[in-house]
Each structure stands twice: as C-alpha cells, then as structure tokens.
Amino acid sequence: MFDDFFGKFSRAFLENNFSGLRLMADGLKNTILITLGALLLGVILGTILAVAKVLPTKNIFNKILAGIANVYIAVFRGTPVVVQLLLFYFGICAKIDIDPVLAAVICLGMNSGAYVAEIIRSGILAVDHGQMEAGRSLGLTYSTTLIRIVLPQAIKNILPALGNELIALIKETSVVSFITVVDITKVAGNIIAKTYEPFVPYLFLALIYLVIVLFATWLVGILERRMRQSDQR
C-alpha cells in the first residue's frame, strides 16, 4: 500500500508540470464555490422557512405559509440530495442552458435550507417567550422584535448545530459530479483513470476535505466566542 508512495504521488500530481495539482486546484475552486453559495442560500432559505413556521397562526395567510414551509421541508429532507440534483439538472433544467456549478449551488442550497430551517426553528423556540413580550410591550413590531431580539439569541444558541450543517454541506458537495461538475472528488477520479493507482489520490482527497472541515470548524469557533461575549459574568 505504502510502497513507492512518493512515486505514486508524483505520478498522480506532480508530473507534466504539476498538472494533477493544477486540476485539483480547479476542482477545489468549484468545491469551495458550491459550498459557500449553498451555505448562503441555505441560511437565507432556512431563516425564511423557520420564521414561516413559528409565526402565530392567527390568520389564514400565516397558516398557508406554515403549510408551504412544512411541505418544502418534508420534500427536501425526504429525498436523497443526489436524486434532487439529477432531477433538477437533467429534468427541470433540461431545456435551459444552466451552468452545472450554479445548478449545484441552487440544489444543495435548497436542500440545506430544509435542515437549517429546523435548526433555526429550534433556536427560536428556545428563546424565552418573555423576550418577545418585552419587545412588543415597548411598541416594537413583531418583525422588529424577531429580527433584533429573538433571532440574535437564537443564532447564538444554534451555532454549534449550524456548524454541523456546514460540515455536512462541505462533504455533500462530493456528489456534484453526478451533474458534470468537476469538483475535487471528480478530479481525483479523473487522475486515477490515467494512473490506475487509486490509493494516493483518494488519500490526498480525504486530506483536503479534512483540512477544509477543520478550517470551517475553526471559523465557527471564532464566531461562537464572539457571540458569547454577553455570557461573561
């Protein structure tokens, strides 16, 4: 397995003026681009869906919103993300000329949104109801109180769970080659198709994911510490 390790590494990544590494760099660009895009879309969608689910169901409009959110979450959590990618890119977008990277961002973002929605909803529900009442008693509107008072406290509490979701998202991007996106996983496969030596490229691939995830964990940790400022006695 480890015999001629450096030889294998050199054949996979260094030969032909580092062509393997260059391809990996291009793949890495796509992986990161898709992760960040999907994260942004997922958090925005998740927040909207969570709010739609916690609105007081006093009027019919709010009930419909909550219903839509429920259906959305059921569908996106209930079907595999690969199936969603295939259906979206080859099915729904069959007649539309869409960049596969963009399609991956949309699909993974919409999928992630369903999970993020439930995380954020749990955070909102965990904030004491007295906070909403205090805000409203001052004359603030429901939405101002939600945005300025409830959500900041909710986000602080759910950061660890959101960090989990980010990590899951990073790793989930490894399936985007199903819709022709060339990410790092796809590049590793392509290299192996030339060298017939799978061990080293896949090991290197795993290492790259690990480094990205550790970096993301570190960033979330910093954010968490900053938001915990108000917890210090």
Binding site: Q131, A134, R136, S137, L138, T141, Q153, S230, Q232
Partner: protein
C-alpha cells in the same frame, strides 16, 4: 385614562376573567392584589393586549384598543410594562436595552437616546453599569433597569406585573423605591403585587380580584381596616 368594560378572557374552557369593569384615571396608582390564579396578571396583560381579550372593550384615552382598526404598537409605546422575570435582552448591554426601542421607533437618534439612557441610569444610580450585560447584574439592578427601559419611551402609563416577586428579599426595597419615586412624579401606574406594604403606602386604590372578578375595591385605609367581603377578610388574614 384606561377604561375596561365587561372584559372576559378564557383559555380554552377555563374562564380566567369573568366580566371586569374598571376605570383608571391619569395620575392614579392602582394596586391589584388577589390569590394566585385570580386573574390579576391576565387582567394587567389585557390592558396592553399582550393577552387578547375574549370579549369586552378596553379604551385607552377614549380610543378602543382591542379592535382591528387600532394600531396596538402605537398604543404600547405609551404604556410601559415591567415583568416579573425582568425580560431584559441578554445579548444587549444595559444601554442598548434602553435605547433600542426609542431609536428603532424613530423617537430619537442614537446619540439622543444614549444621552437619555445615561440620564435615566444616573437617576437610579446605575450609570456605571451602562456597558454591562444583564447577566452581570443582580436581580434588583435588572428590574430597575427594566423600569428605566420602559421609561425611555416616555410612557403615560406604567404596568407592573409582580415586579418584586422574583427578587431576593433584600433587593425588593430598591425596586419599590424607584416605583415610589415614579408615583410621586404622578405617573399613572397599575401594579399587580403581593407587597401589601407597598400597596398600603403608595396606591390610591386597591383592587382585590378573585375568581376573575373584582371582589372589592377601596382606598388603602379602608381596604385594610374594614374589608367588606368575607373573601377579602380571609385573604388579608392570611397575608398580613
């Protein structure tokens, strides 16, 4: 200033308020007392519609507030509320707690609100806590700041929902002192309380609620010395 007509409130099958009629005039301090479950907190919370009445009418300055037409947020800016559990915003500093509403509602610029917040904090002797977070304060300090937060909107009425019930006994005094100052400054106040001493000393009228009804209402002197209903006599014999 506030008038309540035939107010009822039910939670499911439980009738918490069963027809309350009352009139609160400007500058008055009304103490609301009664056994637990008598509906006194619900009554108070109906006054600024934190609790939606099941039926009846509530008027604030001759405008009915429990209708669709009424902009309740506007009304609430004139009715400060202080809660048993303080409900300070834990993620904001003391000063931010106080300035959030006046600034967000366009009453003041951030600079004006900051100045006013410090002025109010000075008055209750907590100016040095302006940049502290609520978790760093004692219960009494939190409640005094909660009062100041409500005052920052320059309300015409202050509603107090058992403001000292969650406090250590030694901190009750400092909160009541702030409330007494308010009463002296002729603030209209409705105070749900178990502090009979405070009710006797500060209130203009005391309201005794039991079973969702006003059982008795009298000035403090009369309330304590010659209670008419057996229910109130019984209650006073237990709490005094």
């Amino acid at each position: 200033m506030i008038s309540v007509k035939n107010l009822t409130k039910s939670f499911g099958k439980i009738n918490v308020l069963c027809g309350i009629d009352y009139e609160i005039h400007a500058g008055e301090v009304i103490a609301v007392v009664g056994p637990s479950g008598s509906g006194k907190s619900t009554f108070l919370r109906c006054l600024n519609l934190l609790e939606e009445p099941t039926s009846g009418e509530i008027y604030f300055k001759n405008e009915q507030i429990n209708t669709k037409k009424c902009d309740i947020n506007q009304v609430r800016t004139k009715m400060g509320m202080v809660f048993q559990q303080f409900n300070l915003f834990p993620h904001l500093t003391v000063q931010q707690n106080i300035t959030l509403a006046p600034v967000k509602l366009g009453r003041m610029t951030q600079e004006e609100a900051d100045e006013r917040a410090l002025e109010l904090l000075e008055r209750i002797g907590l100016k040095e806590k302006a940049n502290a977070y609520p978790i760093q304060l004692s219960g009494g300090q939190k409640q005094r700041i909660a009062i100041v937060r409500a005052l920052a909107m320059d309300p015409e009425v202050m509603l107090f929902d058992e403001p000292t019930s969650a406090l250590d006994p030694e901190m009750v005094g400092e909160v009541l002192a702030v409330m007494k100052d308010l009463a002296k400054a002729k603030m209209t106040m409705v105070v749900v309380t178990h502090e009979m001493g405070f009710a006797r000393e500060v209130a203009d009228r005391i309201l005794f609620l039991d079973g969702g009804k006003i059982v008795e209402e009298a000035p403090p002197e009369e309330f304590f010395s010659s209670p008419k209903s057996p229910r109130l006599q019984d209650f006073l014999s237990k709490v005094l």
